[in-house]
């Protein structure tokens, strides 16, 4: 069986194989946190410490244990944070390591190339969310006695999917700008402040609330909170559908921008100004 076809992906099997190979190689080659120190730091230590930090401040300010909504919100931030970190740097290093030009002159499917950059970051981001959730349950005694786990799983997977779609879309700009940390800071900051993870969305000004509607995690997090409280998948249909819509929107917009950047680069002979 040929894994890579020089004539492009002509059969479904070759297409799937190409996608798998690209996903694997881009994850291994462009994700620089994939070493024991950095991986443990980002996957385990940082999410847990962030949950602990917010819990400490809440306990100090109110004299009581932080409420479950806050703990869940901060725990779930691990998902978009991990997706953003992994995917944005992959886009940047794709260019700086010199493989982007090779990709642009190859006949490979652009959609496969684009989405493969996020494929293995999805399970990675979901794992970060699970670690964070487990830490909230163990360290902060988050009550999950009434949780509907099928609904929790559905919400978590959708938060991961929309986070990856969002990071891929934003990653396009990492091809354009040189400093991916600007985009990383902006993306994480927006989700932290506007998704309802910490500050309830009803307390935000109308404009910021509207921005939050379009961010990944906003609807999925609300679904997750209700699922922990006992809501079923059917009860959460609207929220889950909204998260799917957000993910689909970013996927569509992202691939359009990706193609536009390629066309612009071909026309002007440079990726940036």
């Amino acid at each position: 069986m040929k894994l890579l076809s020089s004539e492009g992906a002509t059969t479904p099997l070759v297409a799937v194989s190409n996608f798998a190979v690209q996903s694997h190689l881009s994850f291994r080659g462009l994700f620089l946190w994939l070493n024991p120190w950095a991986y443990a730091s980002n996957m385990f230590a940082a999410p847990v410490l962030n949950v602990v930090l917010f819990a400490l401040v809440a306990r100090y300010a109110t004299g009581e244990d932080p409420d479950a909504g806050l703990v869940l919100g901060v725990a779930m931030l691990a998902v978009p944070t991990m997706a953003n970190g992994g995917i944005l740097q992959s886009f940047t290093y794709e260019r700086s390591f010199g493989t982007l030009s090779v990709l642009f002159v190859s006949p490979a499917s652009r959609a496969a190339a684009y989405f493969s950059r996020g494929a293995l970051h999805l399970p990675n981001a979901l794992l970060a969310g699970v670690v964070s959730l487990a830490a909230a349950m163990v360290v902060l005694q988050l009550d999950v006695s009434e949780a509907r786990w099928d609904a929790v799983l559905a919400a978590l997977v959708l938060v991961g999917t929309s986070s990856v779609a969002f990071a891929l879309a934003v990653g396009n700009f990492a091809l354009w700008f040189r400093n991916w940390l600007v985009l990383y800071g902006a993306s994480n900051g927006a989700v932290l402040a506007l998704s309802g993870a910490v500050i309830p969305r009803e307390e935000l000004p109308a404009l910021l609330r509207a921005v939050g509607e379009a961010l990944p995690m906003t609807h999925g997090l609300e679904a997750l909170r209700r699922a922990i409280g006992g809501a079923t998948v059917v009860d959460l249909g609207g929220l889950l559908a909204a998260e799917v819509f957000v993910a689909g929107g970013y996927a569509l917009v992202g691939i359009v921008i990706y193609r536009w950047i390629e066309r612009r680069a071909r026309r002007e002979g440079a990726l940036d100004d």
Binding site: Y60, G189, A193
Partner: protein, 257 residues
């Protein structure tokens, strides 16, 4: 002495140019302000008025810590990657002094950013915090800055000595925030964690600052906090300088890798 000061000033100026750029300002503003505002919001939910004050003051040091560690951790690595480390080692000025100059430049830039973050918290709260012991508080701020800078300085040589890996700092930063007590008293940490925190100059300096802010403890207790913080800061700086020497020796023996 004049040569030393010239070297220090040169390193400060070089790193200031490297740091004070629109992209740095944008990245740090977006990244820090969101965290600071959300922390301020959490603190403002409580009935304890002093908690918001503690957070408003703490975020200045928190921002300084987050940004400085992130950047200082890559001081030696960046110099290596940019091709200037070799010249720094060949130059007669001690490498540790050059790194200190760069550290001070980063601290100045991010300290200003931290002040902006404190204003953000005050805006969330709707007014400036009341300070119980203004004189002690004013004198405690430089001590806290020295403590933060000394601890952040440690990560430059440390990263290089252990073969710095991208992404490593993402756990160090929140760990430092929790253990230093920038936005909460270290006294509310579990006993074993508090014992660990007490090894850091920042924990003592922040506690003294919080005592001055809230008036919970007298002058002697604040002075004790300053003393321990400064002693630990000096020890940390000395340890950092020793690590710089190790890094320099390694480079001279095995070359730049």
């Amino acid at each position: 002495m004049t040569a030393m000061l010239t070297a220090l000033r040169g390193a400060f100026g070089q790193h200031w140019q490297h740091t004070a750029r629109p992209s740095e300002l944008l990245f740090n503003s977006l990244n820090q302000v969101a965290l600071v505002v959300t922390l301020g919001w959490v603190a403002s939910r409580g009935v304890d008025e002093s908690a918001v004050g503690v957070v408003a003051v703490g975020v200045v040091l928190l921002v300084l810590w987050r940004a400085a560690v992130f950047q200082l951790g890559f001081l030696v690595m960046d110099a290596n990657n940019s091709g200037t480390l070799e010249m720094e080692i060949i130059a007669r000025a001690p490498v540790a002094l050059l790194m200190l100059g760069k550290t001070l430049a980063a601290a100045s830039f991010y300290g200003a950013l931290g002040l902006g973050a404190a204003v953000a918290v005050v805006l969330v709260k709707g007014g400036a915090p009341e300070v119980a012991r203004a004189g002690w508080f004013a004198a405690g701020v430089p001590v806290a800055i020295v403590a933060v800078v000394s601890l952040a300085f440690l990560f430059g040589p440390l990263t290089f000595v252990v073969g710095g890996k991208p992404g490593f700092f993402n756990a160090i930063i929140p760990a430092g925030i929790v253990l230093s007590g920038f936005v909460h008293p270290v006294g509310i940490l579990p006993a074993p964690v508090e014992a660990l925190a007490r090894l850091l100059p920042t924990a003592w300096a922040m506690e003294a600052l919080q005592f001055a802010l809230t008036g919970e403890a007298g002058g002697w207790r604040i002075a004790l906090g300053w003393s321990v913080a400064l002693l630990l800061a000096v020890a940390t700086l000395a340890f950092s300088a020793w690590l710089v020497a190790i890094a320099e020796r390694r480079v001279r023996q095995v070359g730049l890798t």
